[in-house]
């Protein structure tokens, strides 16, 4: 599968701060890629380099097959970019904002624009500066979807929005997902869990892992082992086990490479006196918390 976005050893330094370090990222065409990580992880920096808002310090990036440093002008007719902290022309009424943008895009679909405006219940006559944060994001999203972009890049689009608005935005986005590749950054894992097909975890400027969502969810299990008696103390565990905790005769850990047979075999080998074992699927949030606490790369 070819990539809508591809980076190689992408780095960005702001004076003494290393914001991004050697990022290797692939966003497959047609995917919804969630770039997640805590605040300050480097998500926005990565996206701004991809959008050629500023250049990388080193490394390279390709956006729809074009070097990110050449992304300008017409290249943006295929890219829809929305960011939570984008400065919109607040003096423009919604209707004029969309009308102003229309001639810039040969593929602008007025019917789709109308449909989205209606779907999001946007007041065309109201100035962008007089809209609530959620409504402004909706207006921005309409302006980024109405020309059928091949790539949609959303930087923290749901931050601070109430659940209802968030669901409306997600619904609007999913309706368009079939015709575009989507890169969405967020520090809120719950909001992208049901949206993304792929996920990458960025922390302190480094990509800790990048995987398909289904694969990731299948790989992680919370394992609870009940023993006949308290286990003997030991220092080493299989490398794929993290956060191993023992409480009396119960041992809990997170398996990061779950395979029903292989994991069961490893458990039996580690705990010969086991009485019972349970494998519980984990939420994305639980996976990242476990990862963050363990300080591990996968």
């Amino acid at each position: 599968m070819s990539s809508a976005l591809h980076t190689e050893q992408l780095s960005k330094r702001f004076r003494r701060v290393e914001a991004l370090t050697g990022l290797d990222l692939d966003v497959p065409e047609g995917s919804i890629y969630a770039l997640v990580g805590p605040n300050g992880a480097g998500k926005t920096t990565a996206i701004k380099i991809l959008m050629n808002i500023f250049p990388p310090t080193s490394g390279r990036a390709e956006v729809l097959g074009t070097d990110s440093r050449r992304i300008a002008g017409r290249a943006f007719t295929s890219i829809g970019y929305v960011s939570e902290n984008q400065k919109l022309p607040n003096w423009m009424p919604v209707g004029y904002f969309l009308k102003y943008l229309r001639p810039f895009y040969p593929a602008w679909d007025t019917a789709l624009e109308n449909e989205l405006v209606e779907q999001f219940q946007l007041p065309r006559e109201r100035k962008l500066g007089h809209l609530s944060r959620g409504m402004r994001m909706k207006a921005a999203l309409v302006s980024a979807l109405a020309y059928h972009p091949k790539l949609i890049v959303l930087d923290e689009p749901f931050g601070g929005l109430d659940p209802l608005v968030r669901d409306e935005l997600v619904a609007g986005l999913l309706d368009r997902a079939s015709e575009a590749s989507i890169l969405i950054s967020s520090h809120d894992l719950a909001e992208i869990e049901n949206l993304a097909t792929h996920v990458g975890y960025l922390e302190q400027g480094r990509l800790r892992f990048s995987d398909e969502m289904a694969t990731l969810m299948a790989r992680f299990r919370e394992v609870e082992v009940t023993l006949e008696a308290s286990p003997a103390a030991r220092d080493t565990w299989p490398p794929s086990w993290i956060q191993v905790n023992t409480a009396a005769s119960v041992v809990r850990f997170v398996e990061t490479s779950f395979d029903s047979q292989r994991t069961a075999s490893a458990v039996r080998e580690a705990f010969p006196n086991l009485r019972n074992v349970t494998y519980t699927p984990m939420s994305l949030r639980a996976i990242f918390l476990a990862m963050a606490k363990a300080g591990r790369n996968l």
Binding site: G73, F76, L88, P103
Partner: protein, 518 residues
């Protein structure tokens, strides 16, 4: 072109209030200018400030227009939209052309026509004015807008520039400056560097949006300009511009020490003393006027102590009907106190320009108006002192002088400051301005002046303007530069204390700034 017009139309919609305000100011300025041609010349707050408000409004409008799609920062929405940056620049330039250059041109045409000068005859001058404004105001304002994200930032930069100029001005006191820089290589170099930097900043921002680099260009310019001034060999430049008189070619005027007389009080900084040395001059041709542009004074005391003034502005006019002038020196107080009562040797090098009178024309003033050389039109208007003569010239005043004979003055009374009358053969001189440029930089292309005699060749107290009444003949002469040279004067064994001027009373000296020509 479609995108250019599209962005332009958006800016028109966005900035209609600003453009409307500017046009109101411009029309008010034009109306006020025409009104003042026919009213007494006096300081009128509103009128003076209009001439300042219009350029400020231009700057504001350019900043607003450029910052509408700010080139600074990483959050503006348009950066990730299909704006083609050269077209964005073209749209902004179109806006400046349509809402600043064109209205200025229209107002200039109207003012010329109102003044009775056919605009079509002065098209090159009008275009020259447009070029001057564009290069020296619009381009820097555009560059300022390109490296700032909002008006507040731009104002801070302007304040920074003002502080920088004050600092440079203070520093320049330590660096000997020539008396005149116009047309000199360092000024041309500094001006070219300034314009090139502004253009480079605009092009860099609209091609690659590299704000940090653009700002570094500006900082580099701020560092380079004083360096150029510091390393410029001014003495050598003055030597070249005003070469010593060649052997066998005596200077057009001979200078010598004049009779001692009590000088008028003069201003000098606290660490200096004002000294006024009277000079006699002779040998001036009838059709020649010599201006002393600058002076370099060296004083040598009996013990070998030396003091050097560096080149300073002089500003003396040596006229054919006159025989006396004076040179004003501001001497270091410590040096003066050391040598003031002992004979010292003074050597003064004057940088002089020889002007020849051409195309003499006799004009008799008339209450119904009269034409003067340089395509000027003059008339009487009522003033506080009586009826003044106001004159209008297209684009600029001619480089000219006029003479009036006291015996031909038609006013019934013509007393000097002492209450007496001037001898009938006294010749009075008046001057019209001079600009080497095709047009004087101003919002209005109509140069205005009042005709009055400012030099009757008598004591300073009698230099107050006398009214030129209708029917008085004036003899105009156009002036042409015939050459520049050095004139040397040696004054051996003079006592400086004999020429010390009283210090001007505190409060008698003020500071002011000049507004653009109304």
């Amino acid at each position: 072109m479609t995108q250019v017009l599209h962005i332009f139309r958006k800016d028109v919609r966005r900035l209609w209030r600003e453009t409307a305000t500017l046009n109101v100011l411009l029309v008010a300025y034009a109306w006020e200018t025409v009104r003042r041609w026919h009213s007494e010349f006096s300081f009128e707050f509103w009128s003076e400030w209009l001439a300042l408000l219009v350029p400020l409004a231009w700057i504001f409008l350019i900043l607003r227009c450029v910052q509408e799609e700010s080139l600074v920062g990483d959050r503006q929405f348009w950066v990730t939209r299909p704006h083609e940056w050269p077209k964005l620049l073209a749209a902004k330039l179109l806006f400046v052309l349509v809402f600043i250059n064109v209205p200025l041109f229209v107002i200039d045409v109207v003012l010329l026509a109102k003044a009775g000068f056919p605009p079509a005859s002065y098209l090159p001058g009008l275009l020259w004015l447009q070029l001057l404004w564009t290069l020296f105001l619009f381009l820097p304002a555009f560059a300022l807008g390109a490296i700032t994200s909002n008006i507040g930032q731009a104002v801070l930069v302007v304040i920074g520039v003002i502080l920088y100029l004050v600092l440079i001005s203070e520093l320049s006191r330590e660096v000997p400056q020539p008396f005149s820089l116009a047309g000199d290589p360092p000024v041309i170099l500094e001006t070219s560097l300034g314009l090139a930097t502004a253009a480079a900043v605009v092009l860099l921002q609209y091609s690659r949006r590299r704000t940090r680099k653009s700002r570094l260009f500006v900082v580099g310019l701020a560092i380079t300009v004083p360096l150029i001034a510091a390393v410029t060999p001014y003495s050598r430049l003055i030597d070249r511009a005003y070469p010593p008189a060649a052997a066998g070619h005596p200077p057009p005027v001979q200078l010598s020490l004049g009779p001692k007389e009590k000088p008028a009080p003069a201003f000098a900084p606290s660490d200096s003393v004002a000294v006024v040395i009277p000079l006699d001059f002779s040998g001036l041709q009838e059709n020649s006027i010599v201006t002393l542009d600058g002076a370099l004074t060296t004083i040598e005391g009996p013990g070998g102590e030396r003091w050097n003034s560096h080149w300073r502005y002089a500003g003396n006019y040596l006229l054919p009907e006159r025989a006396h002038t004076q040179v004003d020196l501001t001497i270091d107080r410590v040096f003066f106190d050391r040598v003031k009562n002992t004979p010292v040797n003074v050597r003064i090098s004057f940088a002089a320009t020889d002007l020849h009178e051409l195309g003499k024309e006799r004009v008799v003033t008339s209450p119904s108006g009269f034409a003067v050389p340089g395509n000027g039109r003059c008339w009487y208007r009522h003033g506080r002192r009586g009826d003044d003569i106001a004159c209008l010239f297209p684009l600029k005043q001619p480089f000219a002088t006029f003479k009036v004979s006291a015996g031909e003055m038609t006013c019934p009374q013509n007393p000097d400051a002492t209450g007496g009358s001037l001898p009938p053969d006294t010749i009075g001189y008046g001057w019209l301005g001079h600009s080497a440029s095709q047009a004087e930089l101003g919002i209005s292309p109509v140069a205005t002046t009042e005709l009055f005699v400012w030099d009757w060749g008598v004591s300073d107290q009698a230099r107050t303007p006398r009214l030129i009444c209708p029917g008085t003949p004036l003899r105009f002469s156009m002036l042409e530069e015939a050459g520049r040279m050095r004139i040397e004067l040696r004054l051996d064994g003079i006592r400086l204390a004999d020429y010390q001027a009283d210090e001007m009373a505190s409060g008698a000296v003020g500071a002011g700034f000049y507004l653009p020509r109304p």
